[in-house]
């Protein structure tokens, strides 16, 4: 389901935009939407899945139990990160194939960079999911972190209103959110044939945020609890 659903939704968007007229010389509405979706789905889906899975481990007691074994905490996080990143890679591969080959999605830059940014977003989603799972006591709460943590980031990143047009205080907040950089990187790849410095900077920022989230998540895995 996780593998196929994003591709299905992108296909749905294609049909939604089919009769929408686009200005000559400007990318079609579908192109813009698809670019954003390819970057947003990995972040969203991985965040949800990771936070719920980790929260189940905490609630069921299996996390405490496996921390009594020789397993190191960084090993546990690396395992989660790797497993979910592989799943995200499969999902992004399918979504990119469907978009670029079947639906006529096009970018000025190479599709490879779209793929790389999608994977970086997935790793960011895993890191944030692992971190947020520490603050949820039940799966019900874990699910609610999605509208709390991810939705504002995406809105402020410039999906609906471009960042330059937002009030200054919102721009400041948007500057510290990793999703803003992820989306900016995607837009750079969409608009320029060569990989720009801004895009490279943005990818590095996203991956750094993912690593910071994972390190903070390591701090929430405690062997001794009250």
């Amino acid at each position: 389901m996780m593998l196929v659903v994003p591709s299905l939704i992108i296909t749905l968007m294609y049909f939604m935009f089919q009769h929408v007229p686009s200005r000559p010389g400007a990318p079609s509405g579908f192109n813009n939407a698809c670019l954003i979706l390819l970057g947003v789905f990995p972040l969203l889906v991985m965040f949800l899945i990771t936070s719920i899975t980790m929260q189940r481990e905490r609630a069921s007691g299996t996390l405490e139990r496996i921390l009594t074994t020789p397993l190191r905490r960084l090993d546990l996080l690396a395992a989660y990160g790797t497993a979910f990143s592989i799943a995200a890679t499969a999902q992004a591969t399918l979504a990119c194939i469907v978009s670029f080959w079947l639906l006529g999605f096009d970018t000025a830059g190479s599709p490879v960079w779209v793929f790389v940014i999608a994977i970086a977003n997935a790793v960011l989603g895993v890191g944030l999911g692992l971190l947020c799972s520490a603050f949820a006591r039940t799966e019900f709460q874990a699910v609610q972190f999605m509208p709390l943590v991810i939705a504002p980031q995406l809105l402020l990143a410039g999906i609906i209103v471009p960042r330059a047009v937002m009030p200054e205080w919102l721009q400041w907040i948007s500057n510290v959110m990793p999703a803003s950089y992820a989306l900016e990187a995607l837009q750079q790849v969409g608009a320029h044939t060569q990989l720009t410095e801004i895009a490279i900077r943005d990818i590095v920022v996203v991956i750094s945020c993912a690593i910071i989230a994972l390190c903070l998540a390591a701090g929430t895995l405690r062997r001794r609890t009250p």
Partner: protein
């Protein structure tokens, strides 16, 4: 069949495997364990008995190293409880069967085996030891309570530890299976494993070399089954235990 008691062994100069020293634990702002000290020798089976909420699980978690301790110390195999070196040498079975519901029995035990660095044959041996070889491919969500307890026990035993801390391992099991498991615990103890087993079923106390009776966070008695029978003059250990509890209640009241 009774194994030697810790008291005898420690008098002979054997080093204690578990040494609890003036342990105090406060949970939810209330004291869960008051100033508890006990020493347990190698190769003994110690039964931890007491009413619900008396602190058995808290004591076991302190020995395993997952409990935040207010004061005092716990030393296992010469090292502070919870140190990294001990994790392969101390096996722990929590009170609730903490296993993965989405996995099959064999996958659960193999997962824990790999966490300890053991291979699939150790996992198979553990599954056979708890009598679940016919159900290896069953999904854990579909198991009965007793079967889940056995899977959890297999996950604790898979690393063949020197110390086994088992929190109510025989709950929900029929008498035949219980007798079988106690035979295995006896065999493990004879081979040198130290076991700390908590239980509500007083008859099982006969299998233990030592009994720790707890009540409301205090260690009420540290005795052996025969000594307990002598002191209270009761034939059945259940009556003996109730008698001790009543005595301690009277002491507190008057």
């Amino acid at each position: 069949m009774m194994t030697s008691s810790s008291g005898e062994l420690l008098r002979r100069g054997v080093q204690p495997v578990i040494s609890v020293d003036h342990l105090r634990v406060i949970r939810n702002k209330r004291p869960a364990i008051h100033d508890l000290s006990v020493q347990i020798a190698r190769g003994t089976i110690t039964g931890l008995l007491g009413p619900s909420g008396c602190g058995k699980t808290t004591l076991m978690r302190s020995i395993v190293g997952t409990q935040i301790i207010t004061s005092g110390g716990v030393t296992v195999l010469g090292q502070p409880a919870g140190s990294a070196h001990l994790r392969r040498r101390v096996g722990y079975m929590p009170q609730d069967p903490t296993i993965y519901d989405d996995l099959r029995i064999v996958d659960n035990v193999r997962y824990f085996a790999s966490l300890y660095g053991m291979d699939a044959s150790a996992a198979n041996a553990a599954i056979d030891a708890v009598g679940l070889q016919d159900h290896r491919s069953a999904y854990s969500a579909n198991l009965s309570g007793g079967q889940r307890t056995r899977v959890s026990l297999a996950c604790a035993m898979v690393c063949r530890p020197e110390v086994l801390i088992l929190d109510e391992p025989t709950v929900g099991l029929d008498p035949v299976l219980r007798a079988d498991l106690w035979q295995q615990f006896d065999a493990l103890a004879r081979a040198g494993t130290t076991l700390l087993v908590s239980s509500h079923v007083m008859d099982e106390a006969d299998h233990c070399g030592d009994l720790l009776l707890m009540r409301e966070g205090h260690l009420v008695a540290h005795t052996t089954p025969s000594q307990l029978r002598e002191d209270t003059g009761c034939r059945s250990l259940e009556d003996a235990f109730l008698s001790i509890i009543r005595r301690s209640t009277e002491r507190i009241a008057g």
